[in-house]
Symmetry: C2
Subunit: 434 residues, 2 copies
Amino acid sequence: MTGTTQDDYTDRYARRVRGMTTSEIRALFAVASRPEVVSLAGGSPYIAALPLDAVGEMLGELAAQQGATSLQYGIGQGTIELRERICEVMTHSGIVNASPDDVVVTVGGQQALDLLARVFLDPGDVVLAEGPTYVGALGVFQAAQAQVRHVAMDAEGLIPAALEEAIARTDGRAKFLYTIPTFQNPAGVTLSEERRELILDICERAGLLVVEDDPYGMLSFEGDAPLPLRARRREGVFYCSTFSKTFAPGLRVGWILAPHAVREKLVMMSEANVLCPSAFAQGAVTRYLTTMPWRQQIKVYQEIYRERRDALLGALEDLMPVGTTWTRPSGGLFVWATLPDGLDSKAMMPRAIAARVAYVPGTGFYADGTGRSNMRLNFSFSAPDRLREGVRRLSGVMEQELAMRAVFGEAGLHPGPQRRRGPAAADVPGPDLA
Amino acid sequence: MTGTTQDDYTDRYARRVRGMTTSEIRALFAVASRPEVVSLAGGSPYIAALPLDAVGEMLGELAAQQGATSLQYGIGQGTIELRERICEVMTHSGIVNASPDDVVVTVGGQQALDLLARVFLDPGDVVLAEGPTYVGALGVFQAAQAQVRHVAMDAEGLIPAALEEAIARTDGRAKFLYTIPTFQNPAGVTLSEERRELILDICERAGLLVVEDDPYGMLSFEGDAPLPLRARRREGVFYCSTFSKTFAPGLRVGWILAPHAVREKLVMMSEANVLCPSAFAQGAVTRYLTTMPWRQQIKVYQEIYRERRDALLGALEDLMPVGTTWTRPSGGLFVWATLPDGLDSKAMMPRAIAARVAYVPGTGFYADGTGRSNMRLNFSFSAPDRLREGVRRLSGVMEQELAMRAVFGEAGLHPGPQRRRGPAAADVPGPDLA
């Protein structure tokens, strides 16, 4: 207790944090946020598309006219006004039977996942999740000391036979399936209509709960997205979403629609965690949904992101080295690329940053250290010409790597031993880039 | 999975939630928020004392002028601008050597405690805490599956000899001392100057970390509060505070000042929990501290609360039944009352609510079921005449209970068996009243 070295605390940490370390990659992402770097790494919506003056006026009124409640404590579950609006929003996605009483307002979609983990997961419990999956979910499951088993996807999303196999291998220790069925992060694929019923049937037969994470479902570029899983089954499905992608992430407002019996546990856990969600942020979203054209704003986002997706896909087609493949998302924010044989997205990162382009290496999206041949590319935040410039820089780095590999062999690309990595969450950028 | 009964999920819950149940008392608090009830139960600041028009204008500008960042994701640790302002605020409390790099912005003071618990506590670990202590902290420790051992206080706060005894009894299993040294919630007492050094010495000798919770330190009615523990020791002390009592709780902005080595773990845990604190709420607090007279506003709160404390103490003096005693806080929000022999604050609650007055029974502030002869009375939220009316109603209920007791004996007051209770957190109101 007298010095300032890390050793003073190391032996006092709870077991859940002992595996949590920051990675060398993380420091690179600090550099990636510089303006000269084209970042394909983030997951940020294009907030400049919001009518900021009108939003400002609305927020000013919220404080001036309703400050006595909007700046005060609120109840742990969230305001009834917002929960009613959330049920309306879910109707827009095809969930028509939700009661405001079964909605729990959360601090963004992240807290929704964390609350579910804390209510259901003991150390050693198994969670099934798509491989690759959302980095923030991996962080939640790591903090819960749970084991993640990945289930393979293809262009139609989660593969039913792979899910059945994974369930069989876990001997009933799996608590739930965590899935992002629509415009998946990071893979950019969508679970097909037919498979939705199959996946639900498999989970129901196995007694496996389903945590459906749906932040992107409204950001469809080609007609409506398939109905959410929760619209097809009421029991056993926990539906999570957020206003981060349809309105603004800076307010941190998300929600869980939970089976009634569990809702109470989630509220108590949220109260232990944050006492109550921000009354001001809830009031802001409620006003936004009540007084502003939110459906129209989603159309605006859809148009912008569709154009950017097309720009990214076009640039990849034109510029990527032979042997590179990628997904073709019909909504959402991300493309998932697979590199030519022998390239390592993690090892290549420092050179990419030096070439003023950033991405998230695929290893960040797996709990088991795989993903070195993959990268996630974001198309929501940057304008089409920036996206093309980013891909141009990235392909230049890849061509150089391939040339080096041709001369020196694989060893030239990977100085140092190839250790099997621990939990992948350490490999990802902070929330400003994730 | 086919029905809608609670049994469908009960056997799936994590161990940490199995003891979490809502209490019958909680339903009463829903009634307590009706306007005809004088609530002495809450912990809410008097937000109407804020210049709401000016705050509204400021928030409107924040969205209109800085929306591209304030409505966007931010970094997990919190913005550097706010962390610098927080260091200035702490200087005001006498903590002059803090670096913004060691500050972690949190979702109110509650998340600060939860993050510390998740970083340090394994199931079965022991936490020492004042008895009584903050209900929200008990909720955190329960969720962490930790054991709370209470340490007695007197009018000068935590009793050093009692702390030494408690440490000796825990066989080194205690991870930290959780303490609210200044204007304690709920007891309304303040750790004296002399004892601050003694307590720190005891903890240092025992290798016990100190979690110092200081939400109320600036709300002093009689000169400056004693220096925080963190101003006296740099290592081994985690300082937590919040803007909920000095600005507005509806924004949910608090912080931890942590020894450098631990700060990184706290940030990673916060990212797993909420990704990042609200950029908008942080921008709001930053603007408030930069452009508005925040020191003057604290003086306004001090004046209002001093007058209300005096009104509450005067009413207690004038109206309480013989045998009732209470603390005389020199700051903060709360008075802690001890009832005449034989009265039970928990059993009396329904009758108090029927008489249109609410308080929090003392049992809510202990992890071990004690506190039935105590109640917490809040004086920050209601005007002096309302406080007096509340005490008048409360004393009427107590006189009736005493009269019934004189006629029927103790059994007449406590229908049903007196079971030893589980964790006390279930006995408290929701966050709107806590």
